[in-house]
Structure formats: structure tokens, C-alpha cells
């Protein structure tokens, strides 16, 4: 039920209204709105109950295990929230002069330096406002590098078939042509296929390491040598950095541009589509193209670097200095962990994934890459169950909700049929992992004995099985007033 449906004409809640009337007499009449905004008319308690009840219908990391592979749904420490919301941060106007923003600028500068250190990159910019923009910035810098050198025939970007769909999309948005490289049975990039594709037309290679198949790309040094020898550059998708944080660095692997998902590895909130932030890092050769604005240090003072400092920059990614609230949360998170703490993140993320993978295997599940160590996530394929019991990955996922666990990522990566991509993260304890493994064992039993239990699932959630086909075919997200007459009533007399 929408809050608008609880509306009743004339009902008001004045308790939170501002005490002081704001003088608006200097706004030209032509710019004043003629209609009242269409807002729900409810009491304060109605509003509180409405949103509290909605929040109770949610699965969230604060209430349940959320092993959504590739998404790194780790706990967001409360300390990051409270420190990012210190009055000095909240009250700072985005247009404040550098001389009254030294504290804030020093946090951003240190965040840039710490991210550069842990990834082995030369410099970092935090200007991007979301992941898609960060990925775009990475490829745009690679394009700029070739263009400045007059190397205009480099129009091809190589992307492994296991990549996130955002990778080819980004390359195309940058005006490149995408060529897909196959991966072999063990989940590594097919080096022979790569060798046959690189050449004077290659602008670069986009790679996620560990890959979306939940395995580490073992021959990364050969790959980066091969691409560099052909004159191309390497882009690192930081989606799975959590598995190697503080242990192995993209910069040491030969990557030239990286994008980090702060909301994954560095624990900023996974909002409902936002707010996002993008950290991009570069090797020495891409430093001249780094996006602005970003923080720089001069002596013991900090200031924003802009187009005057970096004339060849690919440009300005945000009007101000990136998404302050998100960046500060990442800063506090790294400060709290320290160098050793970040290594523990990778160790426990990998340990949890490998422990759970072993439990699943012992319970009779088929692993997509059996014989390989998991990184921070792993893939189970339910191809056999789909064939023998007509129980699909979707059915298992839906039934998991009844057992009190959010479903893992389903049907991704595309090349593994009926797959679940499972990422427990480092913040889950052994009891929770055991409970998940046991739930999956019980569901497998149900699939064998009474598949209808799975087909009916979920039965314990506020909304039963969602009609995702109808939702995709008849997408309708914009609320419209139900009654025209009600709008007329709202006209200012």
C-alpha cells in the first residue's frame, strides 16, 4: 500500500514544521508555483508507521545473511555513519573556500593516498559520482592516452565472456568496438584466443580479477605483458577487490586504470540505486588524464586540483568534490581497519567462501569450478537438479527466503547454467554459514521429495513469488494521482 492511499483530505502533521517563517517575497511571482505539491495528507504517526512497516518487509544486511555474489554485501559499521555525520562535515557548504575546508580536504587526500597504496596505483581521483561513471572514466582515460599520441586506430576493447555486462557497455559508450575473449574450462582467460586478438587495433583489455567466476586469474602477468607489448592498456574492474585487499595489488599486475566500488570493498551503503561514489586509479602513464576535481597537497595545505592543474584531464565528473558522505564513510572504514585490518578482510572473505564451498560440496552440490580454490565467492550449478527434479536456480533462491536467507546471485555469470553465485563476505560468522549450508541441504532434499514446496516458495514473505515477467514487460514505476478531482482541490485558492 502506498502512503498516498492512506491520505485523507485536510489531515496535517505540524509537529515538525519550521518555527520561523521564511521570507519568500523576493522570489519573482512568475517563478512561484501555482499548484500545491501533491503530497500525502497523513498524521505524523501514520507516516512513521508506514515507513517502519515498509522497512520491516525488507531483507537487508542488518536483518539477514545476504550472500549476493559479486555484490559484497558486508556489514556497514555504524561508526562509519556516525563519524561521517560529524557536524563539521554535515554543515560544510560544498562551495566553502579551501581555507575553511582543510579538515575535509585532508580526509579526501588521505583516502586517495590510502587507496593508491592498497591498489598499487600512482594516483586516485574520487570525483566520480557512481560506479558507471567510474568505469566510464577509466576507459575514457585509456582513449585519451591513445588520442594524445595520435594512435587513432586503436578502437577495439577486449572483454572476457565472464565479465560484468557493464564492461562491454562502458567500452561502447566510449566509442570502442568490443571483442569477446573466451575463458577456458578452469575459468582462466584463454591465452591463445587473446594472442590471436591483440594487435595494433587494441585500445585495451578490461578485466575483473578475481573474475566473476569466483577464481583468481592466474596468468595475469602474461596477459598484461601481452596487451602492453601490443600497445594496449589494461583496465581493472574492482568489483572483486575484497578477495585480495592488502594481499595483491592491481598496480603490480600491470593495470593502468582501475575503478573501485567503494560500496563493496570499502563498506559504504548499498543504497537503492544510490548514493554512489567512484574512485578511479591510474598508473604513471595515465596521470595526465585523471578526472577533476580531486584533492592535492602543497606543503601542509590542501586544495582542489582543477583543469588548470591537469590540462589534459578527461574532465570534471562532479560539480563539487565527489559524493562527500559516501567518501567519508570509506575513509573512516579504512582508518578503523588499518593496513593489517584490510588484509584480514581478504583473509576472512576468502576463508568464509572456501568454508561454505566445502560445506556445499559435502552436501552433494555441484561446483562450477570444482578443484579450484574459491576467492571470496564461488559458483554452484543446479543444472543436474533442474534436469532431474525440475527444480531451477530460481526455485532454490525463492525457497531460501523461507529459510531466512537472502538468495545468492542467480543466472550470473551467464556461461554457467542454473547457477548460484555465493559470496558470504568476511562479516558472517561460522554459525550463520552453517545455517545457510543446512538450509540449502534441506531445500535439495525438498527438491528430491516434493518439488512443489520449491515451486510455491516463498510462503513466509509479505509478497509471495513476484511476477518478474509482468514486471519486466509492463514496467510502471511512476506514481500518478488516482483522481483528477483531487488535483483540482489542491489548487491554491
Amino acid at each position: 500500500m502506498l502512503i498516498f492511499e492512506k491520505s485523507s483530505a485536510g489531515r496535517q502533521a505540524g509537529g515538525q514544521a519550521p518555527v520561523n517563517q521564511i521570507e519568500t517575497g523576493d522570489i519573482p511571482v512568475s517563478m512561484l508555483r501555482q499548484d500545491k505539491p501533491t503530497l500525502p495528507e497523513v498524521s505524523e504517526l501514520q507516516a512513521v508507521r508506514h515507513y517502519t512497516q515498509l522497512s520491516q518487509k525488507n531483507f537487508s544486511i542488518d536483518t539477514h545473511l545476504y550472500p549476493l555474489g559479486s555484490c559484497t554485501m558486508k556489514y556497514n559499521p555504524r561508526a562509519c555513519n556516525s563519524l561521517a555525520m560529524l557536524p563539521g562535515f554535515l554543515g560544510r557548504h560544498p562551495l566553502s573556500q579551501n581555507n575553511v575546508s582543510q579538515g575535509y580536504l585532508s580526509c579526501l587526500y588521505e583516502l586517495q593516498e590510502m587507496l593508491a597504496d592498497v591498489t598499487g596505483m600512482r594516483k586516485i581521483s574520487l570525483a566520480g559520482m557512481a560506479g558507471a561513471q567510474g568505469e566510464f572514466a577509466g576507459m575514457a582515460m585509456i582513449r585519451a592516452y591513445h588520442q594524445v599520441r595520435g594512435d587513432n586506430n586503436r578502437t577495439e576493447v577486449l572483454v572476457p565472456d565472464a565479465a560484468h555486462g557493464t564492461n562491454p557497455a562502458t567500452a561502447i559508450m566510449c566509442g570502442m568496438k568490443v571483442r569477446e575473449i573466451s575463458t577456458n574450462e578452469e575459468g582462466d582467460v584463454d591465452l591463445e584466443a587473446l594472442r590471436a586478438m591483440v594487435g595494433p587495433q587494441t585500445a585495451g583489455l578490461m578485466l575483473t580479477n578475481p573474475s566473476t567466476l569466483g577464481v583468481f586469474e592466474r596468468r595475469i602477468m602474461e596477459i598484461s605483458k601481452m596487451v602492453h607489448a601490443a600497445g594496449g592498456l589494461l583496465y581493472y574492474d574492482g568489483a572483486n577487490l575484497n578477495a585480495i585487499l592488502g594481499k595483491a595489488r592491481p598496480g603490480d599486475m600491470g593495470f593502468d586504470a582501475i575503478h573501485l566500488n567503494l560500496h563493496k570493498t570499502f563498506s559504504t551503503p548499498h543504497g537503492g540505486g544510490g548514493p554512489g561514489a567512484a574512485a578511479v586509479g591510474v598508473s604513471e602513464r595515465l596521470v595526465p588524464y585523471l578526472p577533476v576535481p580531486h584533492a592535492i597537497q602543497e606543503g601542509d595545505r590542501y586544495r582542489w586540483a582543477d583543469e588548470n592543474d591537469i590540462p589534459d584531464t578527461i574532465g570534471r565528473l562532479s560539480a563539487f568534490g565527489g559524493n562527500a558522505g559516501v567518501l567519508l564513510r570509506a575513509y573512516v572504514y579504512i582508518r578503523m581497519l588499518g593496513r593489517e585490518g584490510m588484509q584480514r578482510v581478504a583473509e576472512f572473505a576468502a576463508l568464509n567462501a572456501n568454508y561454505l564451498m566445502k560445506c556445499m560440496k559435502d552436501n552433494g552440490f555441484d561446483l562450477a569450478f570444482d578443484g579450484r580454490r574459491a576467492t571470496h565467492e564461488f559458483i554452484v550449478t543446479l543444472k543436474r537438479q533442474a534436469k532431474e527434479y525440475d527444480a531451477t536456480a530460481m526455485d532454490y533462491a525463492k525457497r531460501l527466503l523461507d529459510y531466512g536467507h537472502h538468495a545468492p546471485t542467480m543466472y550470473f555469470p551467464l556461461r554457467v547454467p542454473e547457477c548460484l553465485l555465493i559470496e558470504p563476505t568476511e562479516t558472517e560468522d561460522k554459525d550463520t554459514l552453517d545455517a545457510f549450508a543446512e538450509a540449502m541441504r534441506l531445500i535439495d532434499e525438498e527438491a528430491r521429495t516434493n518439488v512443489e514446496t520449491l515451486k510455491m516458495a516463498p510462503v513466509s514473505t509479505p509478497i509471495r513469488r513476484v511476477d518478474d515477467v509482468k514486471a519486466a514487460r509492463e514496467l510502471d514505476l511512476v506514481w500518478k494521482p488516482v483522481q483528477v478531482s483531487q488535483q483540482v482541490d489542491n489548487k491554491v485558492a
Binding site: 555486462g165 542467480m410 543466472y411 550470473f412 551467464l414 547454467p417 518478474d468 515477467v469 519486466a472 514487460r473
Partner: protein
């Protein structure tokens, strides 16, 4: 068991091909539509598009995934199934009939000989 008509030829990327001289009709197989699940969107090629063999030329999007459809041979698009714009479910309901995706005039009909026949495709699906 999915339906595999004996009079068609099949590609490794799960397109079916019905050839009449140099006119070629292409769709996706029953096996492919079942694996992909309910279609929510189909993007068809434009009439007049020139295609190379194995070139991605259409997209089928289901609730699970978006997949490219590849041209089985080289040639020019002469028609595409405009009904799929509003009724993508035709690909699920009738993959070999009303769910056809495009028609092309090929300049290399002999390339179609290399595609699988029904028997070979059945084995291919079982092994996959």
C-alpha cells in the same frame, strides 16, 4: 525433451535456420527459449542491414539474461518479425513458427551446409 524439427538446420549458438534457395529464416530453438526463460524484449535487425557470418544482429532479453542472436551466414536482411516488439512471448510460445526473428537473403547459401542437422543438434544439446 525439447522439440527439434527434422527439416531445419541448427547453429552452435542455438539458432534454427530454414533455407529456401537463398532466402533464410532464422529464429532461436525450443531448447534455447526454454533455457533463457520468459522473453521480455526482442530487438530485431533493420531491413537492408548487411551481415557477415556469425555477426551479432539481434538481441533476445529474458528475465534471466540478454543474449545476442548471430547471423548463420552472410547476406542482407529482407524482413524481421515486427510482432515481437509487442509480443516477445511468441519466441517462447512458438519458437519455430510465429516466434521467427528475421529473414535474410544470403550470398553464401553453401555456408548453411556446415550447420548441424536435427540429429547432430540433439546430441549437441545433450552434451552441453
Amino acid at each position: 525433451m525439447s522439440e527439434i524439427p527434422a527439416d531445419l538446420r541448427y547453429s552452435k549458438s542455438h539458432e534454427w535456420v530454414r533455407a529456401e534457395g537463398d532466402l533464410v529464416i532464422v529464429g532461436i530453438t525450443d531448447h534455447a527459449q526454454a533455457a533463457l526463460g520468459d522473453m521480455v524484449y526482442v530487438e530485431t535487425p533493420e531491413t537492408g542491414d548487411r551481415l557477415k557470418a556469425e555477426e551479432a544482429c539481434a538481441v533476445v532479453e529474458s528475465v534471466k539474461a540478454a543474449s545476442d542472436i548471430y547471423s548463420p551466414t552472410s547476406g542482407e536482411i529482407v524482413d524481421s518479425n515486427s510482432n515481437l516488439v509487442d509480443n516477445p512471448e511468441l519466441v517462447n510460445d512458438d519458437p519455430y513458427g510465429d516466434g521467427w526473428i528475421f529473414q535474410m537473403r544470403t550470398d553464401n547459401a553453401s555456408a548453411l551446409e556446415e550447420l548441424m542437422d536435427a540429429e547432430a543438434y540433439e546430441t549437441f544439446c545433450e552434451e552441453e
